[in-house]
Symmetry: C2
Subunit: 460 residues, 2 copies
């Protein structure tokens, strides 16, 4: 005879990155018992920027308004309307011909190609480390365990607890595990097996170089308007994107360059680089772009871009183990929506886990089946969209890097990409997360009903 | 002092294909004086099938309900729900693994990959020749001139008439010209210049083989369900599509095969072929597909697929000369939406020309400027979407022809294409033509207002 007292559901989140912490906050607010296991000593990260769409911020709001407060307190600014002049202005994404010098008399002239209105505060950018620091403060300290690097997951029956073994020899038991452990996810490797190509990210054959440039120098290089507003300079086999940060005192500039070689060391995605190789890659580009490249430091680093495009995860859960965020669908950064996709995941998961809580309150023996069903439903609802992002991010990079930008006879052809680019951006920005939640709940209940009927048939 | 009596507007449509005739019917119904100039002796065409989406049929309805009557009287049937059993059934588009033999015990087993619900009567198919024949009957005979092959267009000032010179030596004068003369458009060649790559279609490196197969033989080859319903068999570098026609007594089967060679003769897009070469292209495919291929005639023809992808038209009009339908944006047939895109064009043009009529009634001297503005507005409203179709049709072909379909380790990756395929289909099927009409009218009026203000400034 099962106990009638509602049992708590204990969930382990592997990885204390943005998605892991956002999910933890969302679950804790719903009264779920959650512990985050983070392999690092603390939450210090490189100071790279990260941006969220207005839509992703609405998802955060639904998870817990405290997440949005943390984002804003960490100094998030609307990326493009942050020119300090017009605070109500919409954010625009802009694409500009970065390759051709079109006016001998005015070297700063560049052909404007396209812009998309992303709406009022369409994108908000912040420093990743500052947002993480603010997020950690929202989570009670006892819900976070640092220096816990996952070694193995021990599964037995659906109604048994799951054991987590860490590299330091510690061990815990929980009801379910959610791997938010990023692109190099150990949970994914455990799920799909060591040596399986699905378990690892693969090289996208592009490298990124990033720097911060003082606004005055940026204005001298680009002109006032371009320096103070987001621009994406496109051209053959490379692109340069920049936008103002730090209350318009700096611009954040990132150059992406295609690389025909393989990336030799999968473990280390960063390598030392020189401005010389970057200048060589942009040698034929327009004077403005070359001006910006000259402002990169002489010694810098390049990031190899990896993603999960080549071998996408065929499913996002097995039993009571689930993947979310980059662990499930790490993409290249070209839509500026990778972390936002993980926030959507977190909203979906917390909605489903509330369904599990309700089921377990009525019928405690259902806990294992309900968790498994919730995770399966999560995959059914989220896998298609998140995998689409991985593909689409590659596709828009290919638009930016078209060799046709270098051939005037092909410009008309090259520019036909922007209709798709707009559709793809709108698919991300105008996501109907209410419909997602409804679909998740409906599918979960249908599946639970089937298994209940299946159980009844088995008993008869 | 201009005359106050409204002057008629005389429009020449070059080309009596489906788009030319649909546009003529739409304009005639609105009281516009239209003549269609067709180079052929009559309206006999090869008996190829053509399909329209429910959305395109709604556009026809708006142009003139007589067009829909003509379509239905020509024996159009819902392509996929035409199984004779369930008349209310929705049309589905289905994609199935045509390459791999997955069950040694059941050679007819094929992996179902994806299906999209196109709604009730989502697609209606008919024979092109029969629809044309029915359409011609809607147009008064005096509005059609056959055996008029366009040689040249003589333009002078905006307020002068346009002269049309035909190869037979005849000549007419009109107010405006709309080129609906298809993929090999002479109007496009005149607009962009002889020798300009934009003036000509280019080879897409795929050939199509088509046949009709008796339903009984099709059932023996494919099994009952597949024979009676539309299926798209995908695999490396080729695909086979079939659907029932002729009241379910036949299936229409078309095989598309990639071709690495150039197509030598641009004038002649059809070449003799043998079943042997088709069997060679599908030699490694699943038994069902090979069964169907064996039912093609031993001697047949192959169609080289051409489109306007490589060098898209940078604009759709110049002065009072305009392009519509395939003349403006010929695409490959993989969305089944090429003709429908031309029907949308016709609805946009007839909406805009009614604006011209209104302007000319108030101010007859505006005729030239109003026609030019209407055509410019047409391009502004239509070019992006129609050019997108050309690109998208290539993209979905690349999805069908992925080499990944031949490698089981890449199936999960290959199948991620279907989310895009669905979005792309929905973009075509759920077109908001009311919004298109509103946008066209709004832009046209804005442009006319600017030119009026410009005129006032010039006068002062």
């Amino acid at each position: 005879m099962p106990s009638l007292r509602p049992e708590p559901i204990e969930i382990a989140i592997i990885g204390g990155g943005i998605v892991g912490l956002v999910l933890a906050v969302g679950l804790l607010r719903r009264g779920i018992q959650v512990t985050v296991y983070e392999q690092a000593h603390g939450f210090r990260e490189i100071g790279a920027g990260i941006a969220f769409t207005a839509n992703a911020i609405q998802c955060m709001e639904q998870l817990d308004p405290a997440i949005v407060t943390a984002l804003r307190s960490s100094g998030s600014v609307a990326t493009s309307a942050s020119n300090g002049v017009d605070k109500e202005a919409h954010d625009y994404l802009r694409w500009i011909d970065g390759y051709n010098q079109l006016d001998a008399d005015d070297p700063s002239y560049q052909r404007m190609l396209y812009q998309i209105d992303a709406g009022y505060r369409g994108f908000e950018g912040c420093r990743r480390d500052q947002f993480l620091e603010a997020l950690v403060k929202v989570v009670p300290p006892e819900a976070i365990r640092c220096r816990r690097r996952l070694q193995w997951i021990e599964e037995s029956g659906l109604d048994e607890r799951i054991g987590l073994a860490f590299v330091d020899g510690t061990r815990v038991e929980v009801d379910a595990v959610i791997g938010c452990d990023g692109i190099k996810s150990r949970v994914r490797e455990i799920l799909f097996g060591e040596g399986n190509p699905v378990s690892y990210p693969h090289y996208t054959h592009e490298v990124a170089y990033r720097t911060l440039i003082p606004m005055e120098a940026a204005i001298a290089a680009l002109g006032e308007y371009k320096a103070r507003n987001q621009h994406n300079h496109v051209g053959p086999r490379a692109h340069l994107i920049h936008y103002p940060v730090a209350n318009n005192t700096l611009i954040n500039a990132t150059a992406f360059v295609m690389d025909r070689e393989e990336w030799l060391d999968d473990k280390q995605m960063v390598a030392p680089a020189s401005r010389g190789e970057l200048e060589a890659a942009f040698a034929d580009w327009s004077p403005c772009v070359r001006n910006v490249i000259r402002l990169f430091p002489e010694e810098l680093e390049k990031w190899a871009c990896f993603d999960l495009w080549d071998y996408p995860a065929p499913y996002y859960s097995r039993g009571k183990i689930c993947l979310a965020g980059d662990a499930a669908h790490a993409s290249t950064p070209h839509h500026g929506a990778g972390a936002g996709m993980g926030v959507e995941d977190a909203l979906c998961l917390s909605t489903l886990i509330m369904e599990v809580v309700e089921a377990v309150q009525k019928e405690p023996t259902l806990k294992g089946a309900a968790l498994k069903t919730a995770f399966e439903t999560f995959g059914a609802v989220r896998r298609t969209r998140s995998q689409w992002l991985v593909n689409s991010s590659r596709t828009v990079r290919d638009f930016y890097h078209q060799v046709d930008w270098g051939e005037p006879a092909k410009w008309v052809k090259a520019e036909t990409c922007f209709e798709e680019l707009k559709d793809r951006s709108h698919k991300i920005w105008h996501f109907d997360y209410e419909a997602m939640k409804e679909e998740a709940v409906r599918l979960y209940r249908e599946r639970m009903e089937w298994s209940r009927l299946g159980g009844a048939i088995t008993m008869s």
